[in-house]
Structures are given as structure tokens and as C-alpha cells.
Symmetry: C2
Subunit: 207 residues, 2 copies
């Protein structure tokens, strides 16, 4: 369906705005907008205000650059967390993913991207200087690289490693290996190869 | 990914609002909201305002009940259209679909739904009385039923037919037949059967 014949300019504008979102085509946008149109007025206002307020009022933590409702995020201001272990991630979603594992008690550093010459993203576009500053200021024992295991992720890891290796801290990265629940038959050769080379004591898995 | 660990209440609220939309899960909502968060402030405001303004300011045409920016829609106020031919449709999207064919020069009547006892929608929930009133007022030569060819659509057609058959107007419905571009092998038997019974002169197709 080609949807050029909008009966209302207001409808057209709403659909146009919605279809600017990634993965939302004109047809989906129309469906969503017509859904909103059927809702109570205050529900639609609540929807719009949630977006506006998020954009206007959200802050970034001055330490880790995660988004936050205040100048310092809940994780950085939590004294029960280990502030000596910093996990370096690409974005906010990665923080949320790792938090959901409930396996990490340290703090984070959100780079805001990874080095990607193809997309014109260099080290200066990322929160790398502030990471180096945090390390320089002392108190950090370990930096964990938790970036994607892609070429860009590996390049960024290597760049950070070169910058950090002078300082007397432990630099680690997420373990590479067979995913829990994966069948060996479908595991790629590189991962399988690394997981044999870096094999673990069985006791480490069952403990 | 389970996404319960929101770093910000504002983010959580925006994601919650977005995930109320049909077909938008929490993960998609988060992706869309983080996209908005990266946009310029005025772009986000434009998005929110488009939704609020649509809900607050959009009107329904007092004649055909299509949505409109004024009391009378563009189609109903267009003197070049044939106001003697009224096409009855379920909703706004159907008007847009038919308008896009550029094959119809009459006007519309938007019922706002179809009779569906299972969903508790009866004739009084729809714009049926206003259709009968339009017909009574005269000037209408033909009413075209353009509802879905489902049981509910057929029931609604039949209900309207009973109400309208006393008046001296032509009552028609969309032709049933094989879709243009469809292979016969995949056409359902009922459609194929009807399209043989109601077969057309070949000249009608090629003209």
C-alpha cells in the first residue's frame, strides 16, 4: 500500500515523525499513529511527555558517562560496588545487559561507541581521555574490556591496551568461548579453536 | 535480553510508554528511545508535538467521519467529486487505500468498525445511523460496500443492505475475483468459484 493520500496534515506529520525512527516504515508508522489516535488524550500526552522529558532532563554520569537521572549514576554512587574494577563498554545497553547478569560488582565506563574508521569514528569521538584520567587518578586495580568481538571492538581494545599498559593495572577482557546452550556443531571454528586453547579446569565451570 | 536494570527512571518511563504501542516489545522500545535520545532536542520535541497535536487538534468530517483538519474533509468539500456515490468503508486506512488507486471519484462514509458480536461491536457503535440519514436526505444514487470480505464484513454488508433496500438507490459491492498478479494455483477455491460464476467479458478487462 502506497500511503500518500493523507486525509489530514496532522496525521501526515505524525506519521512522518514516526517513520524517522529506525526500522519503522510508513505503514507501521501509520498503524502506530492510528493506535495513538484512538487512545485517551492524557495517555497520548503521557507518551509525548515521556519522550520530551527524557531528552530534556536526562543526564550523563560525570564518572562513567552512563545515562542517569542525576550527575552521578546509581552504580557510581553505590558504595557497595567495587570502584577499583572498571568495565569498559560501548554503550548504555551493554551496561544494562551486564547488570542483568548480576555477576558484576564493579563499575563501568561507557565509551559511547567504538573506533570505526569506516564510520568516521576515531578515538577523540569517544570517552577515552576520561577513562585514562580515571585510571591516572588512581584507585583502579583492573580494567575489563567488554566490547563486541568484532574487528572494530578488537581495534578499540588494542588502542586502549596501548594507552593503558604503562599503568600498573590488570587489563582483562571477556572470556571467549562456546556460548552456554550452544551445540558445538554450530559454533564457529575461531571460537571453538580459542575455547580449546584457553580451556578451563572443569572445576571452574561447576563451582 | 531482560531489561530490568534501567540506569534512569526517565529512560524507563519512555520505554514503558513506547512498549504500550502494538507490536513494540521492550527491546524494540529501548532501541527506539535510545535513538531519540541521540537526536537533537528540537527533533525530539517535533516528534512529541506531532503526536500531541494530532490527538488534540484532529477533527472528524461531519459528513463522512474520515479524520480531517477541519469540520469537513478535503474529499467531502471537493466539488469535483461525485457526491451521489458513497463508498462505505470500515476505517480511515481503507479510505487511504482506495484513494491511492485513483480509480474512485465519489465520496466516502467511514463506519469506524464493522459489526462484530465477538468483540461486542453492534450497529449502534458504528456510524450507521448517519449513513442512513445521508441517504434519506437524498442526492445519493449509489452506495458501494467496500468492507473486508470476512464474516464480520459480510454481516455488516447484510445489515446495511436490509436497512437501505427500501430506498431507491443502487447498492453495489467490490468485485470478488482473482487478485491481479496472483497464480490460480494459490487462489482459494471460494474466490476462484465466484470469479468463474461472475466472469467478465474479456473486453471489460482489456479496456
Amino acid at each position: 500500500m502506497n500511503i500518500d493520500h493523507f486525509p489530514s496534515r496532522l496525521l501526515e506529520e505524525a506519521v512522518t515523525e514516526f517513520s524517522k525512527l529506525p526500522g519503522i516504515g510508513k505503514k507501521t508508522a501509520l498503524r502506530l499513529v492510528l493506535h495513538l489516535l484512538k487512545k485517551e488524550q492524557d495517555e497520548v500526552h503521557r507518551f509525548s511527555e515521556a519522550m520530551t522529558r527524557l531528552r530534556d532532563e536526562v543526564k550523563h554520569c560525570r564518572l562513567c558517562h552512563n545515562i542517569s537521572d542525576s550527575d552521578q549514576c546509581n552504580i557510581c554512587s553505590n558504595i557497595a560496588r567495587d570502584h577499583g574494577v572498571v568495565c569498559v563498554v560501548e554503550n548504555i545497553r551493554d551496561v544494562m545487559s551486564i547488570e542483568n547478569t548480576q555477576q558484576f560488582r564493579g563499575v563501568y565506563h561507557v565509551l559511547g561507541g567504538i573506533i570505526s574508521p569506516m564510520d568516521g569514528i576515531g578515538p577523540s569521538d569517544l570517552e577515552i581521555d576520561s577513562l585514562l584520567k580515571r585510571v591516572e587518578e588512581g584507585g583502579i586495580r583492573e580494567v575489563i574490556f567488554a566490547l563486541s568481538t568484532t574487528m572494530e571492538g578488537d581495534s578499540t581494545n588494542f588502542f586502549l591496551f596501548k594507552k593503558l599498559k604503562g599503568s600498573n593495572i590488570r587489563i582483562t577482557t571477556l572470556a571467549r568461548g562456546v556460548s552456554v546452550g550452544d551445540e558445538l556443531e554450530y559454533t564457529d571454528e575461531l571460537t571453538l579453536g580459542r575455547s580449546i586453547v584457553n580451556r578451563l579446569l572443569y572445576e571452574q565451570i561447576i563451582s
